[in-house]
Amino acid sequence: MATEAKVLAPLDIRLARAPAGGFTSAARAAAHGRLVAMGLPGRRDEYWRYTDPAELNAPAAVTAENPMPEAPLSVSGALQIRFDGGVAAPLPQSPEGLDLALLSAADTQDIHWAGALFGVLEGEGQSPVKRPLAALNTVLATEGLLVRAGSGSHAIHVDYSIGSMGSDTYLHHCIRVGEGADLTLIESGRAGARSNILIEVDLAPGARFHHVRAQGRDADRRTVTHIFARIGAGASFKSFTFGENGRLTRNEAILDIRGDHAVAHVAGVALGNGAAVPVLHDDTVFITHGAVGCESRQVFKKVLRNGATGVFQGKILVKPGAQKTDGYQISQSLLLDEDSQFLAKPELEIYADDVKCSHGSTTGAIDETALFYLRSRGVEKDRATALLVLSFLADAIAEIEDPDLADQIVARLEDWLGLGAAE
């Protein structure tokens, strides 16, 4: 395949240039091997049937047009870290209990703990479903954040900006949260004209990880992200993603619950308005229950208009012996017109007999009775529609634990809906 050769050939050159001897070069070489064996994704692959990966595979990023910069989320008390077009600004001083470093310095600074993570969770996450764009990230990403929260409670805000309008950004973050430690990770903005961001998260027993990200509101944006998480006993993993528009967005979460009584929640709200450029927003989730008494929850909601397309592929795999599993999955779309569409593929695969798993998926329009109810009280049609959209999204928004961040997300929702400032 011509595209494949074009993408894969330069990899060899880049690999050859990478510093030898460190753990990253070994991991990159391994990822390169995986990638060559898998090949790049195509429409014929089961998990790319609804989403055409061509623009994510292409050798170079397409120049983005009409950027719509947006203020980053505001998080008081968080360490601020910036990446501009994939280039890191100097890191702030780390407080006690937290180690921060950059991937670009990993080999020279001998950050050995990251060696046990970098490309490792990604590699393990390639089965049973292959994820070539994640392997591609491990091969190509030379920058990213390495975070180790050993103790205490910490918050980090990663603020991305696009750099140049043709920027093609690969970032690879590794995060380890130690026993009993608590880490909040906020991500704001758009990292490149095309961006491929991968996060590996390792949660020790009793660790807590909260993740909230807002991926921007640009129409002309191509984004692929992966989160690979390994979740230990009694640990808690919670991730929420908010996205507006975007030509092509694919967010994958691959969560591996290894220890008993752990919790994994992943949620997202996507708003797609295809008026300016076509919008495709894809959430693909794979949660593996490999321990006893764990809870997982997937809540995904999309609001689509002007021909936007939403995709959800969500799987819960309950391994033999993972008794008392409580798995819940809901994916819903609200179509504001007849041109938009939502494609959903919920999957359950269960090999234990004492579990509770449920899934549901709905596609619908605005409830006319509720709309009339609001209008009969004097609320204008647009505002009434907006209130019903907020109503539709409420249980996904409720997945954001921090009320201040939830308010900021709601304000962005209201902006998108054309409501301006909140009441």
């Binding site: 009339f372 209008r375 009969s376 009280r377 004097g378 109503s391 928004i397």
Partner: protein, 251 residues
């Protein structure tokens, strides 16, 4: 106040006539009741007046203080002072009752060219109105009608009425699904809102609501028309004899 002349309405989807030349006038300060058997068109009348989709007016007029209602959007009718208390109030998860009420009040005020009510004044206003309807702070905080009992939903309708202060209130079978105590509470709420500047149209199947909300005028509706108009005694007559005699009388 409300003047309906020769109103003909059909269901858009089915091409089925429901209202067949209805005439009704409600004067300011009065409480009119409409009673009638199932399928006589009572709820259709309330929906057509408030502007719900799905109905087509083929003939006739409806005016509120001389303003043509039928050409207006539902929200415009509300700002003109029309209020419909729903038979089945709608649940709206994720939208707080207070947010909803304040949005509605300010939207109406804005439409009328009045200043919006500040958050502080609004809170005071709602608390005061809620107290008399025995609606507690917890209920105000909850999402609109979500998890409310039948009685709470109807009390919430009356609270909206009290806050929005409409001049023409239509109550569509407000007594349905209420026990005696809940009905009394709702009726007390309505009675507290009776005033020389405000009129009510109370739609009901049963006379019992009218024991609590005493009407000035009672209309009997059948087959899309008002077939008889009288005083409160007409409701008692229906209660005792049913509709059969009245229907036969008209035929």
């Amino acid at each position: 106040m409300l003047k309906i002349q020769n109103l003909h309405v059909k269901l858009e989807a089915e091409d089925k006539p429901i209202l067949k030349g209805l005439d009704l006038t409600v004067e300011t300060g009065k409480v009119h009741a409409i009673m009638g058997p199932n399928g006589s068109g009572k709820s259709t009348l309330s929906y057509v007046l408030s502007g719900r989709d799905g109905y087509e007016v083929t003939e006739g007029t409806a005016e509120l203080d001389g303003v043509d209602l039928l050409s207006q959007e539902p929200e415009e009718r509300a700002s003109e002072g029309l209020f419909l208390a729903f038979q089945y109030p709608v649940e709206i998860p994720g939208v707080g009752n207070m947010t909803f009420l304040r949005t509605a009040l300010n939207a109406q005020r804005k439409a009328r060219g009045e200043d919006e009510v500040s958050a502080g004044d609004f809170l005071k206003l709602v608390r005061e109105k809620a107290k008399s309807l025995k609606i507690d702070a917890e209920m105000l905080k909850r999402p609109v009608n979500v998890g409310f009992s039948g009685g709470e939903k109807k009390r919430n309708e009356i609270l909206q009425m009290a806050v929005l202060e409409p001049k023409m209130c239509i109550l569509d079978e407000t007594d349905s699904g209420l026990d005696v105590d809940a009905m009394k509470l709702v009726a007390d709420g309505v009675n507290a809102l009776r005033s020389p500047d405000r009129a009510f149209l109370v739609i009901t199947h049963y006379q019992r609501l009218l024991d609590h909300i005493r009407p000035d005028v009672v209309h009997i509706m059948a087959d899309g028309r008002i077939i008889k108009t009288g005083g409160p005694e007409l409701a008692l007559e229906v209660e005792q004899n049913g509709y059969a005699d009245l229907l036969a009388e008209v035929k």
